[in-house]
Symmetry: C2
Subunit: 117 residues, 2 copies
Amino acid sequence: MSQEQSQRMQSMCESAKAHVDDLLVLLSKSKMLSTLYVMNCDPDPMRFSEIKKRVDSSSTTVARRLGELEAHGLVTRTAYATVPSTVEYTLTRDAIALQPSLESMFEWVLNRADSSL
Amino acid sequence: MSQEQSQRMQSMCESAKAHVDDLLVLLSKSKMLSTLYVMNCDPDPMRFSEIKKRVDSSSTTVARRLGELEAHGLVTRTAYATVPSTVEYTLTRDAIALQPSLESMFEWVLNRADSSL
DNA sequence: GAGACAGGTTACAACCTTGTTACAAAAGAA
DNA sequence: TTCTTTTGTAACAAGGTTGTAACCTGTCTC
């Protein structure tokens, strides 16, 4: 392999690493796993207030998490011109692909929480 | 159900919730998922410096994460009286049970990182 | 006009977390 | 004697994150 190719390869790997890190940082944010989990539990679109209630956090944090998920293409935000306002969030196909991992992870968490009681 | 029973039930549920939250907070700490992942990749005990290198973080952070994992019974720390010192970390059975979830989660992350290149 | 509702945003103080630097211990090598 | 190694720990400044409180929109109701 030429030095040029090797450099291109390395920069590609580093780019991939950056994307992986980016996703891990995203998933590691507070309430992020919970948010994805509660949205996974119900296949229907979910409203802001419902997510906030289930995740049990402040508006600010829930809004931030949902914004980040939307920015990463993991949720879709749909606003309806009702009064008072209605906004629905849906997981994208990409996020749904993560469902099985999250589910078995939460099963593990629940088992572990059970046995430590 | 008596009110007393209901109260006991509720406090049990809240205790479970606290444990779940505790685990989610643990898993959400920076480099935690990476740490578990790199340790999962290799079934052999792993030394501190090797984990640090693979996780790519400061000694302080790696030591903190490993300490937290040990405190939660997810890794075992074994020190050998060599010079210079040798310390090996191993995932516990509990942590190994989490392996499949983590693996498919990382697969998802890698796929996603790939397609965003 | 005032209040209520959903779904936020903004500002900010308080708190949490991180990496850096310095240090330690123990024993063999130079 | 001083250097080297591994595996950390302590202290601290810099930066990041959180919740709270205040505010906003737009319309229907009282």
